[in-house]
């Protein structure tokens, strides 16, 4: 695979703390920064966004929000993500190999998004400085790379240079190369053609797939509890992607018989519980009924599928996946001597940011009926924890 094997293992119960005790202690300390049930309760009672802001000054977000003049869901989101990035970068700066590479892997997902945004935007002649502003801060490249991107001109030539001299050298460049190579086997033409013809979301899904596979391999090589816990998280994530890709392809060109066996098939990750038996069956699935029949064979997904199939408007399949994710991530966070805790931290914080944005949007748009439809993190009222007070 792309990334070299880790030079050292994560260590076990006796040796983990020698190298990674400090970052782990840091991230455990951040456990208390999550919004509590009481915080959420107060937030959902707010009438205006200023109330939300006032309530958040009691929380860990007070500093992050202190500078913003006006409060909108977007500004809240931005401030919260920046806070997360600051914390993450602090963790990253305190870590040593192989944890530092592990943390880098977490950022690759966002880098992929950013590369796609930059390439596609540059292709349509957008101002590249504007594009950089829109990039996810967790997926920023090195300073030097970031600075060099705007120097390329908005022409096919400049664009080719951008790809060949800059993006190839970024950590996600190899995924890109793999995608282009795989695509050129199917169609003729250079990278520019592929980028113009293939939808951005499909390229992204391909890259995410390579990333998942790569990340999985890396976690396996680290061994110990990390490979076990992180492996499980990534497997489930891979399965979720496969199911979602199949479900969301219905009604799009991707579901056409010829595309199913070529393009859609290529998006299924080669890791996960569904792989290989499940994904092979998914290739031929052409509507929701067939998808349901495949998922019935996998107990862990049939429950989620039944939520979707029941057609109940209260809860979509996305909500069900989020709920399951949060449960798993919480478990991963609460155990010790492995790296998955860092991944769990980032993902749980993301969920929390999503929740805050959701609540503030509901307040802004006066949709009070919907306001509680989010998945709180470390909540006492979670279905898997109901009634048990710790």
């Amino acid at each position: 695979m792309v990334t070299p094997s880790p030079k050292a293992s994560a260590g076990d119960i006796a040796t983990f703390n020698v190298l990674h005790g400090f970052p782990e202690a840091l991230v455990r300390g951040m456990r208390s920064s999550f919004l509590s049930d009481a915080d959420y309760h107060h937030l959902t009672q707010c009438e205006t966004l200023d109330d939300v802001r006032l309530n958040l000054t009691e929380s860990d977000y007070s500093d992050a929000l202190a500078d913003s003049a006006t409060m909108t869901p977007a500004s809240l989101q931005k401030a919260a993500i920046e806070k997360l990035v600051t914390e993450f970068q602090y963790l990253r700066s305190q870590s040593v190999e192989p944890l530092s590479t592990f943390l880098d892997f977490i950022t690759f997902e966002y880098m992929i998004e950013n590369v796609m945004l930059l390439l596609k935007g540059a292709l349509s002649g957008r101002d590249i400085n504007e594009l950089i502003e829109q990039c996810h801060p967790l997926g920023m490249f090195k300073e030097s790379t970031m600075r060099s991107i705007p120097t390329f001109e908005n022409s096919s030539r400049g664009y080719a240079d951008l790809y060949q001299t800059v993006l190839v050298d970024t950590p996600v460049g190899p995924y890109f190369a793999m995608f282009l190579q795989e695509s050129s086997e199917h169609r003729d033409g250079d990278s520019r053609n592929v980028l113009e013809e293939v939808e951005i979301e499909i390229i992204k899904s391909s890259l995410i797939k390579y990333w998942l596979e790569d990340f999985y391999q890396f976690a396996m090589k680290i061994g110990g509890d990390t490979s076990q816990i992180m492996g499980e998280l990534l497997k489930v994530r891979a399965d979720t992607n496969a199911i979602n890709i199949t479900l969301n392809s219905f009604g799009t060109p991707l579901n056409e018989p010829s595309m199913r066996s070529s393009d859609r098939k290529r998006l299924y990750p080669s890791v996960g519980h569904l792989y290989p038996a499940g994904t092979t069956m998914l290739i031929d699935v052409q509507d929701e009924d067939e998808l349901g029949r495949v998922l019935e064979l996998f107990p862990q997904y049939s429950a989620i599928w039944s939520i979707h199939a029941s057609g109940n408007g209260d809860k979509s399949i996305d909500d069900a996946f989020y709920e399951r994710d949060v449960q798993q991530l919480e478990l991963a966070f609460e155990s010790q001597f492995h790296y998955a805790v860092f991944y769990a931290y980032v993902k749980l914080k993301e969920q929390e940011i999503r929740n805050m944005v959701w609540v503030s949007e509901c307040i802004l748009q006066q949709q009070k009926d919907e306001i509680n439809k989010f998945v709180p993190v470390f909540s006492y009222h979670s279905p898997w924890r109901d009634g048990k007070k710790r």
Partner: protein, 115 residues
């Protein structure tokens, strides 16, 4: 030129994104038929966009968020053409206020006045 006229949109990100998803977006080498107005978007840009859309003969309707329309009211006041038609629409953050809509003022005057 193609049959039919374009629908231009000037508004916040949610509004523009929504209508782009609905399929009104059109971008050529000359430019696009929409403008996303963000907090740091200068008034001048909005003015230019509106004036640009209003003289283009391939534009039939201009959709504009009411709160944006209020910012360029001084230009809208002097705009009297029937085509392109300017439609003021609500935005996510600013619920629609009929009081501020010129057409609604006229409608209410007519209905209320019982002419």
């Amino acid at each position: 030129m193609e049959v039919g006229k374009l629908i231009a949109v000037i508004g916040d990100e949610d509004t523009v994104t929504g209508f782009l998803l609905a399929g009104v977006g059109h971008r050529t080498a000359d430019g696009s038929n929409f403008l996303i107005v963000k907090q740091d978007t200068k008034l001048q840009q909005v003015e230019e966009a509106f004036q640009n859309f209003s003289v283009r003969d391939d534009v039939g309707i201009i959709l504009i968020n009411q709160h944006v329309a209020n910012d360029i009211r001084h230009i809208l006041k002097d705009y009297h053409e029937t085509i392109p038609t300017v439609l003021e629409i609500p935005s996510k953050e600013h619920p629609y206020d009929p009081e501020q809509d010129y057409i609604m003022q006229r409608v209410n005057m007519f209905l209320g006045g019982g002419m």
